[in-house]
Amino acid sequence: MVYIKKDTKIIVQGITGHQASFHSNEMIKFGANVVGGVSPGKGGTKVNGVPVFDSVEETLHLEPEATMISVPAPYVKDAFYEALDHGIKIIYILTEHVPVHDSMEMINDAKLKNAIVIGPNGPGITVVHEKTKIGIMPNHIFKKGNIAVISRSGTLTYEIVKSITDAGMGESSVIGLGGDAIVGLSFVDVLSELKKERQTKAVVMVGEIGGTAEEEAAEYIKNEFKKPVVAYIAGRSAPPGKRMGHAGAIITRGKGTAESKIKTLNEAGVEVANYPQDIPELLKKKLKT
């Protein structure tokens, strides 16, 4: 089980919004246990058959364990504390453009209260063998299997997941860390979950320029992680100092280049694909040996 399981009770904060109403429906279709939604002023209505409440407090009789936050960036911190203060321990933030100081505060506070933050600005988590997901990954790309994918991006992850599925393999869990400079989960956090998880036989890391999360993962893999890992790193062509779409995808003061990440991963025995579509071949090779 990676963070959520089949019966994990999920609420959606901001459920009446365009994105959240569409994606909560997709979550339900995938098999997720969405028990309620929150949208101030819309309490008493229903979205996709799910009851809507005015506050998180009003959902407590449903015993929510996880929440998906999809509200505009200036309101994310408030929604987050509403969830955290009411004891919700798995908090996924879909929203992009959350101020980085808000993220720092939320993530450090969550840690003190033993809560897990997923995102901001990521596609969430899909646990394929539990038939549940919290987030926005497209349902049709998955097939049950034993490959876990950990990624800092969205669309590129779907591309890689689909290529794994098309190659006749399947996925155990797919975890989107988020594209911001400060996110709740790191590669190392997820790898340490996957270490003891039985469904996963091999891991795909999808990293990108910016920060040192991939380098830290390489260190962890070298010393503590025995399952085979392959990787793809986006941003070889990125010029320094430019944000490549994601707030976190930026080479600052010479740090966070694709070269550094690829080199460090290679040194830890992790093969890095040149093209996203090479991932299935690398996996097959690793799983044979």
Binding site: E105, E208, G235
Partner: protein, 371 residues
């Protein structure tokens, strides 16, 4: 949002951080009489200004006017000089380094201080940089400066000035949602005062909704990037000749990288984001066309962004903007077959996988080059 030095110093002033006497000018005639000897500092958003000749010294007004004329005619690292900060020269005894930034892996603010100021911090040996993290929940505490002043060897009045300055600097960092507040050099004058001789402040662009007073500086963007920003596209101008339109930051980067591995240089990064709006697709084309690419490569993995919507946008753009350049399209994911059908009917190559489409771009490019 990168701030100019003079804007950073206005914030310093607001928080009581000592700065040199001075003012900003936008033409040489604005230079007054009572500031000499003075430093004239070209205001640009890029680093490495000193090495590029952007700082001059003048003993009197006449000298200063001539130097200012020269500076205003300069372009420093592709940035035209629009402002000069003129400041009374300091009697420098020593130069320190002090900054507050965000440590991405520790997810906390990081204070860095060094006795090796006035040079790029990257060139300073790690053991000469003293670092302390700050817990973002309870914020800065004075014990941090006690530790740092001891390591820096600052005593008595200087230690007191340093502590006072650092707590004000942290307050600014926190209240203004800064990604970086850097003073390099932080000068100790011969008179025994601590003064921020430079100011580099970067404010988190995602926080601007709560900082209406922060100026919007776009001078570190190219003209095309400014237009793109105005039109709400995530766009970066590059120096190659393959125009790129893709969806998702990661996939767009991977598209550029794949081109590069085939020896093809991308002209731009353009991420459509998660959209199912035909106009957003269509209007991305004139933007890329302005960059004069030789080929346009569209790479879409459909999810929320549906492939048939993208195909319609491409067809509309081709007609409306009269595009004669070769367009290579790869569509995969939701409604891919419908999308490819629409394109086929309009005579546009469409592929389902990335390798084939990149190969096609390469073929067309090579045939154009051979002419």
């Amino acid at each position: 949002m990168n701030l100019y030095e003079f804007q950073g110093k206005e914030l310093f002033k607001k928080y009581g951080i000592p700065i040199p006497d001075g003012y900003v000018i936008s033409k040489p005639e604005e230079i007054g009489d009572n500031i000499f000897p003075a430093a004239l500092k070209a205001q640009v958003l890029v680093g490495g200004r000193g090495k590029a000749g952007g700082i001059k010294f003048a003993n009197n007004k006449e000298e200063a006017i001539n130097l200012a004329k020269d500076l205003f005619s300069q372009t420093i690292k592709n940035s035209k000089v629009k402002y000069i900060l003129i400041e009374r020269k300091l009697n420098i005894d020593k130069e320190l380094y002090l900054s507050i930034t965000i440590d991405r892996s520790k997810k906390r603010p990081l204070i860095m201080a060094s006795n090796e100021g006035g040079v790029e911090i990257e060139s300073v040996a790690e053991e000469k940089i003293f670092m302390k993290h700050v817990d973002p929940i309870h914020g800065y505490s004075p014990y941090i400066s006690k530790i740092l002043t001891k390591k820096l060897g600052l005593k008595d009045n200087l230690a007191k000035q340093f502590s006072d300055l650092l707590s004000k600097m942290y307050k600014l960092f926190e209240e203004y949602d800064a990604e970086l507040v850097e003073i390099n050099p932080l000068v100790i004058t011969k008179e025994g005062n601590l003064i921020a001789a430079d100011a580099k402040v970067i404010i988190d662009s995602d926080s601007l909704f709560r900082h209406p007073d922060v100026p919007i500086n776009l001078d570190d963007l190219t003209e095309l990037e400014k237009i793109a920003k105005e039109a709400n596209y995530s766009f970066v101008e590059l120096d190659g000749d393959i125009g790129v339109i893709a969806n998702g930051a990661g996939l767009t980067m991977a598209t550029l990288d794949s081109l590069l591995l085939h020896g093809l240089k991308p002209r731009n990064f353009l991420d459509l984001g998660g959209t199912d709006n035909v106009d957003i697709v269509k209007n991305a084309f004139p933007l890329v066309l302005k960059a004069n690419p030789k080929i346009i490569f569209v790479n879409i993995f459909g999810g929320v962004t549906k492939c048939d919507t993208v195909a319609q946008g491409i067809v509309m753009a081709k007609k409306e903007f009269n595009i004669n350049l070769p367009i290579v399209v790869r569509l995969s994911g939701v409604h891919e077959e419908e999308g490819r059908q629409i394109l086929k009917e309009n005579g546009i190559d469409a592929f389902s996988n990335m390798p084939d489409s990149v190969k096609k771009v390469s073929e067309i490019y090579n045939s154009i080059i051979k002419g």
